[in-house]
């Protein structure tokens, strides 16, 4: 990239993620995507709410869910949202190494979250025989929560890709928008999780 001085300026602008037209477009494009994602998750939430009492004689949400695990998962994902804020803070201060460090921590927290989710599903399937096919409640639950887990997995792959690809490049106007769009996406995953732990787990426990 060193031949292109427009992307490697002498002094970094104050908002490197929105300094180029491509950066602005990436920013708008991601928000447009998130608007669509909101509707997609809403359709899964609507389905879940409509079918959550159709247990077909299987375990109900009150019997199934354990709040300890969900609490730990929530804390992990909330904290990973903060660490990605730290990463963007260092991006704006043009400190590439610290940005990479905080992105790395974000990724590890995301991985821990995902591992707990896999453990949770394994626990339901093995100890309760509660599967995707056991009832309408099961199908709706695994589709909604699994779709969110899939988003976490996709986010982790995305994060790894941009961290590895730009490891030697340092921060410039070409990749700053990429890091920024990732961080917005990661916050959105947390937004969805806030509704999942509220609507699925907490409201599932209340009845």
């Amino acid at each position: 990239m060193s031949h292109d001085h427009s992307l490697n300026p002498e002094t970094m602008p104050h908002n490197p993620e929105k300094a180029t037209l491509e950066g602005k477009n990436k920013f708008l494009g991601l928000w447009f995507f998130l608007g669509g994602e909101t509707v997609l998750f809403a359709s899964l939430f609507g389905t879940y709410l409509a079918l959550k009492n159709s247990t077909a004689g299987g375990p109900s949400s009150e019997e199934l869910f354990g709040l300890e695990l969900v609490f730990i998962m929530t804390m992990l994902l909330l904290t990973s949202s903060l660490t990605s804020v730290y990463a963007m803070y260092h991006m704006k201060n043009n400190d590439f190494k610290k940005m990479q460090l905080w992105l790395g921590i974000t990724g590890l927290l995301g991985l821990a979250f995902l591992s707990l989710e896999i453990y949770e599903f394994y626990h339901y399937i093995h100890d309760y025989g509660f599967t995707f096919r056991s009832s309408a409640f099961g199908s709706a639950f695994y589709t909604l929560v699994g779709f969110h887990g899939g988003h976490v997995l996709f986010g982790l792959c995305w994060l790894t890709a941009i961290m590895v690809r730009n490891a030697k490049r340092g921060l410039n106007l070409y990749n700053a928008p990429k890091f920024n769009t990732f961080s917005l996406y990661w916050h959105f995953i947390d937004v969805v999780w806030v509704f999942i732990f509220t609507v699925v787990y907490l409201m599932g426990k209340v009845g």
């Binding site: 990239m1 803070y89 043009n94």
Partner: protein, 106 residues
């Protein structure tokens, strides 16, 4: 491939501005943790569901607001289009949830 990590570091004024912003975000984070704990406590105390469910939803909405406005910077200038898109999404989302639940419950 030039390593330009250390070129053009922001001046003290902007560094301070970023720091102030970071402090606000830390406060936001602490509030989000507190709201999460309140939500879990509400469920553990076995509050009546006619109070508990609206309270839980309210806590979730406030948390998501923090996430959008502080962590995702929707409070900053130049976020008219993002607001339009996300509120458009939320509008359609509410209709979707109502439609799907009402169709089955009635």
């Amino acid at each position: 491939m030039a390593n330009n990590t250390n070129t053009g570091n922001p001046d003290t004024f902007h560094k301070q501005k970023h720091k102030d912003e970071m402090i606000k975000q830390l406060i936001t984070f602490v509030l989000m943790i507190v709201f999460t704990i309140i939500a879990f406590v509400v469920v553990l105390t076995g509050m009546d569901k006619f109070f508990a469910i609206p309270l839980l939803l309210l806590l979730a909405v406030v948390q998501v607001g923090f996430q959008f406005y502080y962590f995702m910077h929707m409070k900053d200038k130049g976020h008219e289009m993002p607001s339009l898109m996300i509120y458009g999404g939320i509008g359609a989302a509410i209709v979707t949830v109502l439609a799907l639940t009402l169709i089955i419950w009635w």
